[in-house]
C-alpha cells in the first residue's frame, strides 16, 4: 500500500478542526498540528489513486489552503505494476 507524508496548510484558526476532520477519514493519520497552522498527516491507501483521492478530500476541507506532499512511497504497488492506479482499487 502506498504511503505518503503530507502538510496541510490551514487558514489561521481552522487547523484544529481540520486535524479533527482529517483524522476521521479512513486512511489518514494526523501526526501533529503545528502552531503556525500546519497539520502533518500520513496517508495510506490501497492504491496511488485512492491516496490521491484522499489528498483531494483533504484539500476540500473547509479552511484548507493547500495540501503538499513531502514524501511518497509506493514500493509495493510499483512492483505489481500498479503505480498507475490500475490495481484492484
Amino acid at each position: 500500500m502506498p504511503v505518503s507524508g503530507v502538510v496541510i496548510r490551514c487558514q489561521p484558526g481552522s487547523e484544529v478542526q481540520i486535524a479533527e476532520q482529517a483524522g476521521q477519514l479512513e486512511g489518514v493519520e494526523v501526526h501533529g498540528v503545528l502552531p503556525d497552522g500546519q497539520v502533518i498527516a500520513v496517508i495510506e491507501a490501497v492504491s496511488v489513486n485512492a491516496e490521491a483521492d484522499l489528498a483531494t478530500k483533504l484539500q476540500q476541507l473547509e479552511g484548507a489552503i493547500s495540501i503538499q506532499v513531502a514524501y511518497h512511497n509506493f514500493e509495493d504497488v510499483a512492483h505489481e505494476g500498479g503505480a498507475d492506479g490500475t490495481d484492484k482499487a
Binding site: V7, Q68, A70, N73
Partner: protein, 770 residues
C-alpha cells in the same frame, strides 16, 4: 515492540512532512533508523510544471519506488504539490509504448527501430527532394530537455535547412516572449521566485496560481501568513481557489485587461504618480501597428512595425483612457481602477505583477504583457528585491528549452533569430556549418503548421513530447486533415494519445529519469538530472531517435559527440552560445550537485537572482544601479497599446464566453496524470462550470448534461454549479485534460498577430440542456 517495514515507512513519511513544515524536532524518532532501506535517492526536477520543483527520486531494484520533495531544493523546500503523487504514475502505466509501430492501413503493427527509422528517413528525403526542405517539420515542446530541443534545432535548422521547428510553447507563452524581447531586448524575467517571499503586494491578472502554480502560491501564502502587510489582488473572470486566499477579487470582462491596464496608466499619468527620474533614465516610448487581423484566414500577413514616440506624445495618446472608459470595457468600476493605480504607485509597497495564460493566450497577448510592463516602468517598481513583474510559465522547460535553445520557427539559441545575418553566422560558426545552410526565412508557426498539413503543403511532421491533436484550437479541421493522411506523421510518445491515433509511425520514448536531462524553469533555473532507471521495452530517448534519423539523411556529422561524453559535449557546445550574452550557463559538471542555478552564472560559479542590477547581475558595474543593458540605448520600452476587441464575442445566437484552462490534479492533456481509471475518481472528466443564475435561467441543475456549441462544433459536458471554480455571469469554463472530451473543437483558432499565440480563453458558445 517489533517495528514493521510499514511502521518505518509511515515514520519516514511523517518525518519528511515535519521537516518540510519547518518542525523537524517533532518527527518520530524511529524514522532516523528507517531511512528507506535499500532505496537509492537522486535529484531531479519535477516532470510536470514550469515551477520546476526539486524532487528526490528513490530507486530500488531498477524501479522508482518513492519520491520526496527535495529538502535542499530552494524552489519548493521539501514539498511537492498534489501532482507529486502522479510522478509515480508517469512512468508505470500499463499501456506504456514499448516498441515502434508502423501504420498498415487502419492498423498499427510492430516494427523494428531500423524499419521505423528507415521509413521516416525515406519519407523525409522524398518530400525534401520533391517539394523542398520547407515541406517538412518538427513539433516539440516545453517538456523537451535542453538536449532534445537542441538536437532538433541543429538538425532541422542547421542540417535539413528549414526553420519549421516549433514547440507547443507557442500555445502558452509566445506572447510573453515577444514582450520580453520588445520591452527589454532579452527573453526571461529580471526577477525570480525570491520576490514572492520578499514582496508585499501581488497583483494577479487572470492567473489561477493556486491550481496552476501551486507550490509558488504556497510560497506566497507563507509570506502572507507571516506578514500582515501582504496583499493579494486577484483580477479574473472566474472565482477560483486563488480567489479564496485573495484580499480582493476584482471580476473583469474577458479582454477587459487591455482597458483596465490602460486606465491604471492613465491615472498614473494624470496624477503625475510616475517616477520622472526613472522614466527619463531608463525608458523610451513606442507605438506599434494597430488594427491587425486575428489570423483567421490561412497565411494572413501581420506584424508589428514600431514607431518611436516621446513621453509627451505618449501622455497625449493616453488621455482618452479614463477610468470611466476602462470601466465600460472591463467591467471594473472606475473607482477600483483609481484604487489599483494608487496601489501600483504606493511608495511604501513592494509591488509585483503575476500572470500566465489569461494574458498570454489572448489575441492581443503581446499588448497585455506590454501594458503590464508599462506600469512597472512608469513607477520604477522593477529590478528591485521583492518588486518585479513575473511572467509565469506552464511547462517544465518552456524557458530552458523552447525559449533559450530557440525551438521556435524564428529563433536560434540565446535570443538570436534566423532573420538576422550576424546571428546566422554566429550559429553556423558554433555548428561548424556553412552559414548559407540556415534559412533566413521564418518557418511555419504552430497554427500555420497544422493548416499547411490541411492545405497539402506540409508533407512530413514529427511530433515529440506533446499531444497537438488534442490541444490545438479548432481541432477538428486539423484532425480531419491528419486522418485523411494529408501528411506523414511521426509521434514519439510514452503512452497512446489522441496524436498517436493519427500517426503513421509511433516511436516509444524514454521519459524523465529514464534518461539524462536538463530543464530550465520560470526563474531561469537550470536543473540537471542523471538517468536512474531503464526505459521499458525498446523505448529510446528522443535525442537518440533524432540522431539515428539524422544519420540516415547523411547528417550524422552534426552530432560528433562521444558516447561517454555525449551530454557534456553537447551542453558545452550549446553553452558557448550563451557566454558573454548575459545568459551565461555554467560548465556541465557544476549542475551535478546543486539544485539548479539561475543564469547568468557568474565567473565564480554563483547564480544571479536579479538581472539588470548592479547588486547582483555581473553585467552591470557597481554604481551603475539598474541598467537594461540588452535593450537599445539601455532603455526599456513603454508601448502605447490601445483596446481592441476579441476575435469573437458573444451575440444573440452564441451568448456565452467560453474559457478553457487547467485543474490542480491534471496536467496538460493528462497523458501522464490521467492514466485511465483516474478519470472516474475524485476528479471526473471535464465539466462545464456555469454561474448559478445563468444555469437557473436555462433550467440547468448541477450535474445535468448540457450541450455546448460554438460555430466550430459541439460537445456534451456535465454542468458544475458552485464547484471549485465559479465563472462570472455570462462566462462558462472547462478544462482541456480529458481526452474523451475534445473541448478544443469549440475554440477559435484566432491568434495574436505578433506572437501567433492562439486565444484559448475567449470565444462564443451557446448552452442547451442535453
Amino acid at each position: 515492540m517489533e517495528l514493521t517495514r510499514r511502521d518505518f515507512l509511515k515514520a519516514s513519511a511523517a518525518a519528511a512532512a515535519f521537516a518540510a513544515a519547518g518542525a523537524p524536532v517533532l518527527a518520530p524518532r524511529i524514522a532516523e533508523a528507517a531511512d528507506d532501506k535499500g532505496i537509492k535517492w537522486d535529484k531531479a526536477p519535477c516532470r510536470y510544471c514550469g515551477v520546476g520543483c526539486c524532487v528526490l527520486v528513490g530507486v530500488k531494484n531498477g524501479k522508482i519506488v518513492a519520491t520526496k520533495g527535495d529538502p535542499a531544493g530552494p524552489v519548493n523546500k521539501g514539498l511537492n504539490c498534489i501532482k507529486g503523487y502522479f510522478l509515480s504514475k508517469a512512468l508505470y502505466g500499463k499501456d506504456r509504448l514499448t516498441h515502434p509501430l508502423i501504420r498498415k492501413g487502419n492498423k498499427m503493427v510492430k516494427a523494428s527501430w531500423d524499419e521505423a527509422l528507415d521509413l521516416i528517413a525515406s519519407k523525409y528525403k522524398e518530400a525534401i527532394a520533391k517539394t523542398g526542405p520547407d515541406s517538412v517539420a518538427i513539433y516539440g515542446s516545453g517538456q523537451w530537455t535542453v538536449f532534445e530541443g537542441y538536437t532538433a534545432v541543429k538538425l532541422f535548422k542547421g542540417g535539413i535547412g528549414t526553420n519549421n521547428v516549433e514547440p507547443n510553447a507557442r500555445l502558452c507563452m509566445a506572447s510573453a516572449v515577444v514582450a520580453f524581447m520588445n520591452t527589454f531586448g532579452s527573453d526571461e524575467p529580471m526577477g525570480c521566485y525570491d520576490d514572492l517571499d520578499l514582496g508585499d503586494t501581488f497583483i494577479l491578472w487572470g492567473a489561477n496560481m493556486a491550481e496552476a502554480h501551486p507550490v509558488l502560491f504556497s510560497r506566497l501564502i507563507d509570506n502572507k501568513l507571516k506578514n500582515p502587510k501582504v496583499k493579494i489582488i486577484d483580477i479574473a473572470t472566474r472565482r477560483t481557489r486563488t480567489t479564496q486566499m485573495a484580499d480582493d477579487y476584482i471580476p473583469m470582462y474577458p479582454q477587459g485587461d487591455l482597458a483596465a491596464l490602460n486606465g491604471i496608466a492613465h491615472v498614473i499619468l494624470r496624477d503625475k504618480l510616475y517616477d520622472e527620474a526613472f522614466v527619463a533614465k531608463h525608458v523610451s516610448f513606442k507605438r506599434g501597428t494597430e488594427n491587425q487581423p486575428y489570423g483567421l484566414k490561412d497565411k494572413e500577413a501581420a506584424g508589428d512595425k514600431p514607431e518611436n514616440i516621446d513621453f509627451a506624445k505618449y501622455k497625449e495618446l493616453m488621455k482618452p483612457f479614463t477610468p470611466e472608459w476602462a470601466e465600460k470595457l472591463s467591467g471594473i468600476p472606475a473607482a477600483k481602477i483609481e484604487e489599483l493605480a494608487k496601489l501600483y504607485t504606493d511608495k511604501s509597497r513592494k509591488v509585483n505583477t503575476l500572470w500566465t495564460m489569461g494574458v498570454n493566450q489572448h489575441v492581443r497577448g503581446v499588448w497585455v504583457n506590454n501594458l503590464i510592463y508599462n506600469l512597472h516602468l512608469l513607477t520604477g517598481k522593477i529590478g528591485k528585491k521583492g518588486e518585479n513583474p513575473l511572467s509565469l510559465t506552464g511547462q517544465p522547460s518552456a524557458c530552458g528549452t523552447a525559449r533559450e535553445v530557440g525551438t521556435f520557427a524564428h529563433r536560434l539559441p540565446a535570443d538570436m533569430v534566423v532573420m538576422n545575418e550576424a546571428h546566422r553566422k554566429k550559429t553556423a560558426e558554433i555548428w561548424k556549418i556553412d552559414p548559407a545552410k540556415i534559412s533566413p526565412k521564418v518557418g511555419l508557426h504552430t497554427i500555420e503548421m497544422y493548416r499547411a498539413i490541411d492545405r497539402g503543403e506540409l508533407k512530413c511532421l514529427w511530433i515529440q513530447c506533446t499531444n497537438p491533436f488534442q490541444s490545438i484550437p479548432n481541432l477538428s479541421r486539423y484532425r480531419k486533415a491528419a486522418e485523411a493522411r494529408k501528411a506523414f506523421i511521426v509521434v514519439s510518445e510514452i503512452y497512446p494519445t489522441k496524436s498517436t491515433e493519427v500517426a503513421d509511425v509511433i516511436l516509444p520514448s524514454a521519459c524523465w529519469v529514464e534518461k539524462e536531462g536538463m530543464y530550465g524553469n520560470t526563474e531561469r533555473r537550470n536543473q540537471q538530472w542523471f538517468k536512474m532507471v531503464e526505459p521499458p521495452g525498446q523505448a529510446k530517448e528522443d535525442t537518440w531517435q533524432l540522431i539515428e534519423f539524422a544519420k540516415r539523411l547523411g547528417l550524422g556529422h552534426l552530432f560528433p559527440y562521444s558516447q561517454k561524453g555525449f551530454y557534456k559535449e553537447m551542453w558545452e557546445e550549446y553553452r558557448s552560445f550563451t557566454i558573454g550574452t548575459g545568459k551565461d550557463l555554467a560548465p556541465y559538471e557544476t549542475y551535478f550537485k546543486v539544485r539548479g542555478l539561475r543564469w547568468p552564472v557568474k565567473a565564480n560559479g554563483q547564480e544571479t537572482r536579479w538581472r539588470y542590477v548592479d547588486f547582483d547581475d555581473p553585467y552591470v558595474k557597481p554604481g551603475e544601479g539598474l541598467k537594461f543593458y540588452k535593450a537599445p540605448g539601455n532603455k526599456a520600452s513603454i508601448w502605447y497599446r490601445p483596446y481592441e476587441p476579441p476575435a469573437e464575442s458573444p451575440d444573440k445566437e452564441y451568448p456565452f464566453w467560453y474559457c478553457t484552462g487547467r485543474l490542480l490534479e491534471h496536467w496538460h492533456t493528462a497523458t501522464m496524470t490521467g492514466r485511465v481509471p483516474e478519470l472516474k475518481r475524485a476528479m471526473p472528466g471535464a465539466t462545464l462550470e456555469i454561474h448559478p443564475e445563468d444555469a437557473a435561467r436555462l433550467g440547468i441543475k448541477n450535474r445535468d448534461k448540457v450541450k455546448v456549441s460554438s460555430r466550430r462544433g459541439s460537445i456534451i459536458l456535465t454542468a458544475e454549479i458552485n464547484g471549485r471554480g465559479k465563472p462570472e455571469k455570462g462566462n462558462v469554463f472547462t478544462t482541456f485534460f480529458d481526452e474523451t472530451k475534445l473541448i478544443n473543437d469549440l475554440c477559435i483558432d484566432a491568434f495574436d498577430p505578433i506572437s501567433k499565440e492562439p486565444d484559448f480563453k475567449k470565444c462564443a458558445v451557446k448552452i442547451e440542456k442535453a
